[in-house]
Symmetry: C2
DNA sequence: GACAAATCATCAGTAGAACTGACGATCAGC
DNA sequence: GCTGATCGTCAGTTCTACTGATGATTTGTC
């Protein structure tokens, strides 16, 4: 049991043993490096996430994209407004359901996406370099496992 | 090379292969579960982080705590204001340097911390249950490695 | 076919956290 | 003793997230 006082420190878990801390800061560090790598492509990390779900076909409508990315549907509006204004994505009403907006990459959008994804892959490879290929794959697999076991789509 | 069109999807990396996505959502999922587990203790996830660096002795002053946690020094003021108001932490000016505030847990603060940390540990164990002890340790180690290799204290 | 309920995108307003720039108080170097 | 730097604090700005409402449209029910 922890006692108040200077000797108690040894009984408290060090911060680099706390999974929440490790996940948060690993995410932050990678995001920070990615942001720098994407700077001259003209898109942000958030944008790249949106582009990815559109390009992969995992999402067709705005709400699908929002759900996959875990962002609010109302935030997606502004996010797409900016991308549409840059000529990277285009919205058109669905023919089956005219309430929905089908979002797609423009020709220019594909070029931007290809370039941004290339920069990102490079950054990620660099980020996990010391783990080796097997270690990086193991890390991904472990994260996939905990996510799927904790109610993730 | 990616071509615009419906056949391009297969050539785009799936989202659950993207490390940034995995890290972000794993962090979010754990934070979400922790928040629920801490609800009736009366502290937030952010608070627990602060309590931990104080309890472990990793930080004595406000700025040290802010630096370790990666939060802004100005945000730390409000964070500590709330904890002090709840009687969980106490500020006193350092005797060596009277610009600095030494922050410490009160007796009640230690009790709250002990309880919150216990809830958190349980949540974390549950979160990584399917990985097994070795798998969870491997995940932590991999995260520690990439962090230290990417300029982290 | 007509009506009620649900869904999609949007917008306005609100709340929270991060960051900037400034301030007074204090310390360290010269 | 003076100058420059550091610590905690505060005010103001920005960014994101979330709530609640709206209009347009679809789906289900009678």
């Amino acid at each position: 049991m922890s006692r108040p006082g200077s000797e108690a420190a040894g009984q408290v878990r060090a911060r680099d043993d706390v999974l929440g801390y490790l996940l948060k800061h690993a995410h932050l560090a990678l995001e920070h490096r990615t942001q720098a790598a994407l700077a001259d492509v003209g898109v942000t990390v958030r944008d790249l996430g949106v582009l990815r779900v559109i390009a992969s076909g995992e999402a067709q409508s705005q709400q699908e994209a929002a759900a996959v990315l875990g962002v609010d549907r109302t935030s997606m509006v502004a996010l797409l407004d900016a991308l549409e204004h840059q000529g990277i994505v285009a919205r058109r009403p669905s023919e089956q359901d005219r309430r929905r907006n089908i979002i797609a990459l423009t020709g220019h959008g594909w070029e931007v996406f290809r370039q941004a994804e290339s920069r990102y892959s490079e950054t990620e490879r660099d980020f996990t370099a010391t783990l080796g290929d097997a270690g990086a794959a193991g890390l991904r697999q472990a994260l996939r496992t905990v996510l799927s076991e904790n109610g993730h789509p």
